[in-house]
């Protein structure tokens, strides 16, 4: 198999494991996500276990990465090098959190939930893509 095809297969398998993990974890359900964020109400702590389990296994992956010269199907690791904490990071994350609380969806679960077939999932994903496009095509190109 060519390297391109191997990368495609790896991405498909990785995406499927991610989507299955989301479904198993309960993250796909906006009501549960909002219950997790509702710390002043009937708090549902279960998503602490989702994030904890995910970070733990990803951390082991990072330790392996640090011992590899390059990824299996590419020449370099494409990891963000930026270190500075700037206004777009904080403002963008704040806006994202507001939307996450209102809808109970973040990007991964919203897309994974499309296969369940609810109209509200499609509406959310459409609005999300518009929001991304407004940022990438207009906002971040101001004055360029």
């Amino acid at each position: 198999m060519t390297r391109q095809l191997l990368q495609t297969v790896a991405a498909l398998v990785s995406g499927t494991v991610f989507g299955f993990g989301l479904a198993l974890s309960g993250m796909l359900d906006p009501t549960r996500v909002q219950g997790f964020l509702d710390i002043f109400g009937a708090w549902d702590p279960s998503l602490v276990f989702v994030l904890g389990g995910a970070v733990l296994v990803a951390f082991m992956g990072i330790q392996i990465m640090d011992r590899m010269a390059r990824p299996t199907f590419d020449d370099t690791f494409h990891v963000p090098a930026k270190r500075e904490i700037d206004a777009p990071l904080v403002i963008g994350s704040a806006l994202f959190g507001l939307g996450w609380g209102i809808g109970g969806f973040c990007p991964g679960p919203a897309i994974a939930s499309l296969s369940v077939g609810l109209g509200q999932s499609f509406l959310f994903v459409a609005a999300m893509l518009v929001g991304m496009t407004i940022h990438d095509r207009m906002w971040s190109r101001r004055g360029r």
Partner: protein
Amino acid sequence: MTPYLPSLLGGMLIGLSAAMLLLLNGRIAGISGIVGRLTQGANVSTNLPFVAGLALGPIVFLFAFGHWPDVQITAGWPLIVVAGLLVGFGSRMGSGCTSGHGVLGLARLSPRSAVAVATFLTTGVVSVAMMRGAGL
């Protein structure tokens, strides 16, 4: 413990997926980044199959357990649109969401991601509290 076991196992699978994509393809499994780049037509041969796999995951769940995973959306359509716009715009402006900053960023001990996670958890809590206050 029982209700938390699927959450823990599901979370570990999310971490496994992120580790796979990183060690095999050298890429960060940040969903807002992958989807954002896909809408710009970048790296379609890997970004598209990853996104397709995301949607395939719940179908695998259906075959494994005989029912769909729970998806209950209580917000009405105007709030869904507002939420989607904020999530899309904010995650691109902040260079990541729950996966890129929350899973991989924290695993990489990135100070930027720590700030991002603290910020979106705080505003997420605030927005749910405001919605509860408004009776939504």
